[in-house]
Amino acid sequence: MMEKIQSIWNRFTSSRLCWPLAALFFVLLFNFFFTKDFFTIEMKDGHFYGVTIDVLNRAAPLMLLAIGMTLVIATKGIDISVGSMIAISGAVAASLIGGKLEYVDGVKTLVTLVPMPVAIFTALLVTTLLGMWNGLLISKVGIQPIVATLILLVAGRGIAQLITQGQIITVYYKPFQFIGTGYIFGLPFSLFIVGLVFGITFYAVRKTALGMFIESIGINAVASRFAGINVSKYIFSAYAFSGLCAGLAGLIICSNVSSADGNNAGLFIELDAILAVSLGGNSLDGGRFSLVGSLIGALVIQSITTTIYALGVPPEITLVVKSVVVIVICLLQSANFRKIVFSKWAQKRGIPGEKNAAKL
């Protein structure tokens, strides 16, 4: 009997998505009992409304970041500059679009400085280039990822403020707001962006050899190079891609609040993104990764935030809850912790065999 439970338990815990799913499950379970109308979804004006939809919508930027961050972390790297890149992306887009109210032939019209697609393209180009800068420092110059991206983290907000001249730029141009607040088929538009990016990325890493190469690089970069993998190319690309994701996330955030704030846009979101990846069951030591896990991680973080809002607790308390969640998840992921707890538990039951098994 004991052994059967043990084997089921082992199979469950060894599954990659077990802990992220369990975390999401508990958050949702909590909401099921304690938050009113958490799972209710209504149709209004042809749009779906409800707390869950809201969670998905708000989690969109984080999910995008988490996708990019997953790949970066899988190469045994880290990108702590994504928050700054979000600020830059928003600043570029907002200052290019501008959006002044002007009277053209006596009619109130919104005029953009440059066409919106150009502005969006430029913003994405800028963050991708910044990602490439990170990638260059890391893959070619050989600087530690956390140090290399620290440079942009420090400089990024300065650059963003430089672009906006220290002002908060408001975007009045309506079509731009669609990115963050629009709906297609009754669902938030941002979700389609996430879906698209996820789909392409997932296809690229699982249906081509890209995923295996990235994992291989993350586990042993030297051996990977010896096996003929162009290591620096892939590492470089991972950071460039992370920059692109940050750019997209920046556009969504900027469009959502219709303004670009060089100081506060995406502040500390890099930590959330890393947390999402980690919650998703991905080791920060690189190697094996799961994109789905990271998305679940991002959803867990957003659900917690939303739950706290819904409970009417001051939103700043989110930080405390987040810290507790981080610790709990990390403890559960920590083999040492499981070993200590498990062997104590086994000792109490007096099962000698288990004690030895736990020691492994």
Binding site: P314, E316, K322, I327, N336
Partner: protein, 327 residues
């Protein structure tokens, strides 16, 4: 050749010191009134809290870890002292030791998680950062002004120096800590164990060094330094607010790196960190004197320096590897 080999570790430190004086000289040439002892001392006064934090950070970096909770701990100390002093009307004599103890314990707990459960320092201190910041808001969402007479006194008191110069009490605290840290890192078993563990933790353990204890204590030390820095910061700001010392952890890390402490562990200089902070001070002062440049240029300049130093460190390491492969 041998001479150059001897000093490869100190190259960064030397460049930092030279650069500091060069920047100061440049300022003196460009701007009237820049060249004065008081401008120099003001850098210390304005950055005393950063010096204190950065020193704790230096030890953490030497042992091969990282502590990004320091900024939040400072905020929490400010907030909690303000709360205890103003709302609970406790005496400063109780509050200050209590804060230091709290910071130390906070660090110890983080260190224990890192060591005993082998969770990455980045993640543990990330949680610590969220926790401390969040606790600030649990205490109060708004600013609490500190009107405690002792704090007011310390905040405004200026210790006179010859030639009409002055420094604050915080500067004395910071400089004493620098000296203590110098002694700790070079002349105590604990200090050398930190270097050893940063160099190779596995070997350090096999050589019988108390790896776990040292690691946990280093985080405790960093927590203590942050708390001390928080106390100094509350002298400086005379308020508790949840957004205090936002992003200070990055400034502290930047100071250490600019001062020649790489993030790879095993190497680091307390003096270097001091100059790392002062260089940031010089840049701030230069921008202040220049007058038309906005404050965000400081960030860009610091980032530029950071970049420069990191690349430089990389080149030094690269050369070292090269000479090794030849010899």
């Amino acid at each position: 050749m041998k001479k150059m080999q001897l000093s490869y570790k100190y190259i960064n430190l030397m460049i930092t010191v030279v650069l500091f004086f060069a920047l100061f000289a440049a300022g003196s040439v460009l701007y009237n009134g820049f060249f004065s002892t008081q401008v120099l001392l003001n850098m210390l006064i304005d950055n005393a809290f950063l010096i204190i934090t950065a020193i704790g950070m230096t030890f953490v970096l030497i042992i091969g870890g990282i502590d990004i909770s320091v900024g939040s701990v400072i905020a929490l100390v400010c907030m909690l002292s303000a709360y205890l002093l103003e709302i609970q009307h406790l005496s400063a004599i109780i509050v200050i030791p209590l804060m230091l103890l709290m910071g130390f314990l906070f660090g110890l707990v983080q260190g224990s998680f890192i060591h005993f459960f082998t969770i990455q320092p980045f993640i543990v201190t990330l949680a610590g950062m969220f926790l401390a910041r969040g606790l600030c808001y649990v205490i109060s969402i708004d600013t609490i002004m500190i009107t405690n007479p002792f704090y007011q006194f310390v905040a405004t008191y200026r210790i006179p120096l010859p030639f009409g110069n002055f420094i604050s009490i915080s500067v004395i605290i910071a400089l004493v800590l620098v000296l203590a840290a110098l002694y700790l890192s070079n002349y105590t078993k604990f200090g050398r164990a930190v270097y050893a563990i940063g160099g190779n933790a596995q070997s350090a353990m096999l050589m019988g060094l108390p790896v776990g204890r040292t690691k946990v204590l280093v985080y405790g030390l960093s927590g203590f330094c942050s708390a001390l820095s928080g106390v100094v910061f509350s002298f400086y700001m005379l308020s508790g607010y949840g957004l205090h010392a936002m992003g200070l952890e990055m400034d502290a890390i930047a100071s250490a790196v600019i001062g020649g402490t790489p993030l790879t562990g095993g190497v680091g200089f307390v003096t270097g960190t001091l100059f790392g902070v002062l260089i940031q001070g010089v840049i701030q002062t230069l921008i202040m004197f220049q007058g038309t440049l906005s404050s965000w240029w400081t960030k860009i300049a610091v980032a530029f320096l950071l970049c420069l130093f990191i690349v430089l460190q990389r080149i030094v390491v690269f050369r070292k590897e090269r000479t090794k492969s030849i010899s």
